[in-house]
């Protein structure tokens, strides 16, 4: 497989160093300043090594897409640094960024919304060449058709419109467009979430094959844990703007330390009745708190069945728990021991939420 354990010696291809991103929220005061600030991403460190797939998981509003957009330099970060291939790219201008865009590409979630319905597929995929002033005329057409073939589309459909393609085929168009300039890094933002399972499998296979053939590096953002488990070498779990746990697929799925990771895993419906009947079900109470006014200390403490007094005082650092390998890090004051159950701490079903939901 890939460089999952290359670890500390290799240089990360893409790296976030204490990246924060804030958005103005609420109204603006007379001076035009925002009255409130939404902390979408809060001092996140993340490394993606060449050839590997890092899965970024978390629920709606946890900041995973914002982080990805910061890393692709689609957003400017509020604080921190973004490094690509050993170089600080945080403050490069648009023009300085342009050659780098060939190396970092993004595949978006919605195969319906991310393709212009009035343009032909050939010109959508060929855009990359036009923007970077490469390959003209017949050569461009030949390259585009080559790409269409690579992602499993019929090259003769060059002149068709997106509407003539099904959801899975449209996602292939998005993949072909991302691959046009032979990038080294692809950020996949929920690439299969809008697709049916059978079609989802086709697109996942395609992404895995392309990685093996072209030596691509992926940052794979999804809320679907079974998908992330399938494609990733390493996984980072986010909650309310922070990474709460990071490790290899086995670390996360078999030895989760953070109560949130554990709760997320237990909430994942398993297509196996025996497992569904016998495993522990942790139903988290309450809703995701607002990122405008996040809870103090550990952001997860108001919903955490293990929370104690110290949890709301200080933010726990992201570091290995005793006995864990250095690349399995957890941000929790009271991490779970191996095989420890979370249900024992939850009285009853835990349905009635004890605290105020999101306003």
């Amino acid at each position: 497989m890939t460089a999952s354990t290359a670890g500390s010696t290799a240089t990360p291809l893409l790296e976030a160093r204490a990246v924060s991103k804030e958005f103005p929220a609420g109204g603006t005061s007379l001076t035009g300043r925002a009255t409130e600030v939404l902390h979408a991403v809060d001092r996140v460190d993340l490394e993606v090594f060449p050839g590997e797939t890092v899965g970024l998981v978390g629920e709606t509003g946890c900041g995973k897409s914002t982080l990805a957009r910061c890393l692709a330099r689609l957003y400017d970060v509020t604080a921190g640094e973004v490094w690509f291939d050993g170089r600080d790219v945080t403050h490069l201008s648009r023009r300085e960024m342009r050659p780098l865009r060939r190396d970092i590409q993004v595949i978006f979630q919605d195969p319906y919304g991310s393709l212009n319905p009035r343009r032909r597929v050939g010109s959508i995929i060929g855009d990359a060449f036009a923007i970077h002033d490469l390959e003209k005329g017949a050569a461009r057409k030949a390259r585009v058709q080559e790409l269409m073939e690579l992602v499993g589309l019929n090259p003769e459909h060059y002149n068709r419109f997106p509407a003539d393609f099904s959801g899975g085929q449209r996602q292939r168009i998005g993949v072909a467009r991302a691959l046009a300039l032979r990038p080294r890094m692809i950020i996949c933002d929920e690439p299969v979430s809008a697709l049916d399972v059978s079609i989802q499998a086709q697109v996942l296979n395609l992404l895995i094959d392309l990685q093996d053939e072209l030596g691509l590096t992926y940052l794979f953002i999804t809320h679907d844990l079974s998908v992330v488990r399938h494609v990733s070498n390493r996984i980072a779990v986010m909650y309310l703007g922070r990474v709460v746990e990071q490790g290899t697929v086995e670390d996360i799925f078999d030895g989760a330390r953070h109560p949130y990771t554990k709760a997320l895993l237990s909430a994942l419906p398993t297509p196996d009745p025996d497992v569904a009947d016998s495993r522990e079900h942790v139903v988290l109470s309450g809703d995701l708190p607002s990122a405008v006014d996040p809870p103090s200390g550990c952001h997860f403490h108001p919903r955490c069945p293990r929370a104690r007094a110290d949890c709301h005082e200080q933010q726990p650092p992201l570091e290995p728990v005793d006995g864990d390998p250095v690349d399995h890090t957890t941000a929790c004051w009271h991490p779970l021991a191996h095989g420890e159950s979370l249900t024992s701490a939850v009285p009853g079903l835990g349905i009635p939420a004890p605290e105020e939901g999101e306003p």
């Binding site: 497989m1 079609i199 895995i208 079974s226 488990r229 419906p269 009745p273």
Partner: protein
């Protein structure tokens, strides 16, 4: 008597492109306190099927019967239907934001629904009942939240409000169309827990439409698998997951990223779901089916009992015998494995 008995339901729409045969002869039944899961890909007709039962497919040509507690919902008079829909049959839809009116307070919307079906209730009684319902589905401080607007609720809370409304009059049947699809897993777990708890308390029967086999494994008693408007397989939950007969069901399971299997290629179902306009003769799944043989292309298989089990039905021409069917599957798997490997691998 069964609570719900659907017999040979056919629904078609006439469009500019031709006649869309969305549902082509679907039958199933459901008892109190039971949950029926209906799964299938987009366009398989699973939503049209249940929407027709509750009378939401205007302009469609409908034949067949759908008996609810002895009343045929498809031929009943509007007056009779009014006493059943909303009152004895509750409905939950996929998108909780567009199912609530954005300009009315949550409390008003629940109250209006209660009073429409029970005119004896006073305004104050209905309000009390509304607060009680919000508490029941786990919304904190229900009394105060009654005066909030839908946008002040999160997605999961809105979906719980929808459940509260659907459960307001203790219906005998709850029709839930992808109730958790738009929600995150932890919120989905909360919503499913609320639904199953209410089922335990009130004996409600649930028809749950979903594309998520995981959700089906968690809550369904029986499973109907649909493809191109017909039932491909109908069996109890464990049979569906462990001893499925139909190649389409098999394909759905093979496309799932398996737990514990790690990073490997998946086996997707070939092709895409067929258009239900002008379907060719034969089995609708044949063009995508790895087992398809001569007979599959000429005549459509009926839903028949398989594996000697009275509760297990499958629409497929493959042998109905467990041993024979398993042997065929194993042979195909061996062949695909051999074809996938290089020269040495193919020797077997």
């Amino acid at each position: 008597m069964r609570l719900l008995e659907v017999q040979d339901l056919r629904v078609s729409f006439s469009t500019d492109d031709g006649i869309v045969e969305a549902v082509r002869g679907v039958s199933f039944d459901l008892d109190r306190s039971h949950t029926l899961g209906i799964v299938g890909e987009s366009g398989s007709g699973k939503s049209v099927c249940t929407q027709t039962i509750v009378g939401l497919t205007r302009g469609a040509t409908v034949t067949g019967n759908a008996f609810f507690d002895g009343v045929d919902l498809l031929t009943a008079q509007p007056d009779e239907l009014r006493g059943i829909r909303g009152k004895r049959i509750g409905m939950i839809f996929q998108d909780p934001l567009s199912s609530l009116h954005p300009l009315y307070r949550i409390g008003w919307q629940i109250r209006e629904m209660i009073q429409a079906h029970d005119s004896s209730m006073t305004r104050q009684q209905a309000r009390t009942r509304a607060a009680e319902l919000l508490g029941l589905v786990g919304i904190p401080h229900p009394e105060e939240r009654l005066d909030d607007y839908p946008h002040q609720f999160s997605g999961g809370m809105r979906q719980r409000v929808m459940i509260a409304m659907a459960m307001a009059l203790n219906p005998d049947l709850l029709v839930a169309d992808e109730p958790t699809t738009a929600l995150d897993v932890t919120v989905q777990a909360q919503v499913l827990a609320v639904m199953t708890r209410l089922q335990r308390e009130f004996g409600t029967a649930i028809v749950l439409i979903t594309h998520d086999l995981g959700v089906v494994a968690e809550v369904a008693d029986d499973v109907v698998v649909m493809h191109a408007g017909v039932v491909m397989e109908h069996a109890p939950r464990r049979e569906t997951f462990y001893h499925h007969h139909n190649p389409y069901t098999e394909g759905l399971f093979d496309s799932l990223p398996a737990v514990g299997a790690g990073r490997r290629r998946l086996t997707p179902i070939a092709g895409t779901p067929p258009s239900v306009i002008d379907l060719p003769p034969g089995c609708s799944f044949a063009p995508r089916c790895p087992y398809a043989f001569d007979r599959c292309w000429v005549s459509e298989p009926p839903l028949a009992r398989v594996f000697g089990d009275v509760h297990h039905w499958s629409a497929c021409w493959l042998p109905a015998d467990l041993v024979a069917r398993t042997a065929i599957r194993d042979r195909l798997r061996a062949e695909t494995a051999a074809a996938g490997e290089t020269a040495e691998g193919a020797a077997s």
